[in-house]
Amino acid sequence: MTEAASSSNFEGLLRQALAPVEPPEDLAQRLESTLTSLTELAVGELEAWELSAMRDPRNWVRPAAAVVVGSTAGVALVLLRARRRIS
């Protein structure tokens, strides 16, 4: 067998050994659940925030970040769910 053929054969075996691995079915559900948790965490952050603390502009960053995380994660979640229903 030539070196090129041997190398090609070895690469074929390597391709078989490292075949793609299908993710477990519940992984997508876990991902959605994590996104939901993020959304709920963000809401909780806002509710727990004392209004008095908001008088100080230095405290505005955290709740603002919570709003961003909450809304973006929520929309992504809805999209993922919609996609799963369609497929």
Binding site: L14, A17, V21, T72
Partner: protein
């Protein structure tokens, strides 16, 4: 053609992220699985990868200038895996489980031989230096080309080509050595 300077709506970004997720969930999971060696950590790593990707998706799209985002996703997974090992101060605790379906074995003997050969290859992959192992996972498990792998590893195309060539040669040596020892 869309104006690249016009910010996309959030709904559009989310739609595109959703597509990215569906297109590359298996890639990220495969990479994670071969990188960490077990399903439990691979699931965690995949989850963290997509959450981090989601947070930085808009910027990544801007900076990618239309290039595929798979290398960026794999790079996130690569960095998270490196952090995982740094935190735990360990490498994969157990050998990678062989979950490979065999290609049309004709006899029981052939099946056993093929299974053993694939197992030797998987064990050999684990013995490779990190960068060589990762390059082979990207090439053979994910089917990435040199350019994609170069972007994921932060190397030049030329250096990546050499890296893959040396990784295959080294692995072939390890496997042949193991076979002659048997």
């Amino acid at each position: 053609m869309a104006d690249q300077h016009t910010p996309k709506s959030k709904a559009q970004l989310d739609e595109e992220f959703s597509e990215l997720y569906r297109a590359h969930l298996r890639d990220v999971y495969s990479y994670a699985y071969y990188r960490v060696g077990n399903h439990h950590d691979a699931e965690d790593l995949t989850e963290q990868t997509f959450l981090q990707a989601y947070r930085h998706f808009e910027r990544a799209q801007r900076e990618s200038a239309g290039r595929p985002l798979r290398p960026w996703l794999i790079r996130i997974a690569h960095n998270l895996a490196a952090n995982l090992y740094r935190d735990r101060s360990r490498k994969p605790a157990s050998p990678i489980e062989d979950s490979t379906p065999l290609a049309d074995p004709h006899t029981t003997e052939e099946l056993v031989e093929e299974r053993e050969e694939l197992s030797r290859i998987l064990n050999g992959v684990e013995e490779l230096p990190d960068d060589r192992r990762e390059a082979l996972i990207m090439r053979f498990a994910l089917g990435m080309d040199n350019r994609e792998i170069a972007r994921a590893l932060g190397r030049s195309d030329g250096a990546t080509k050499v890296l893959i060539h040396r990784a295959i040669k080294q692995l072939e040596g390890i496997v042949n050595e193991g076979a002659s020892d048997d």
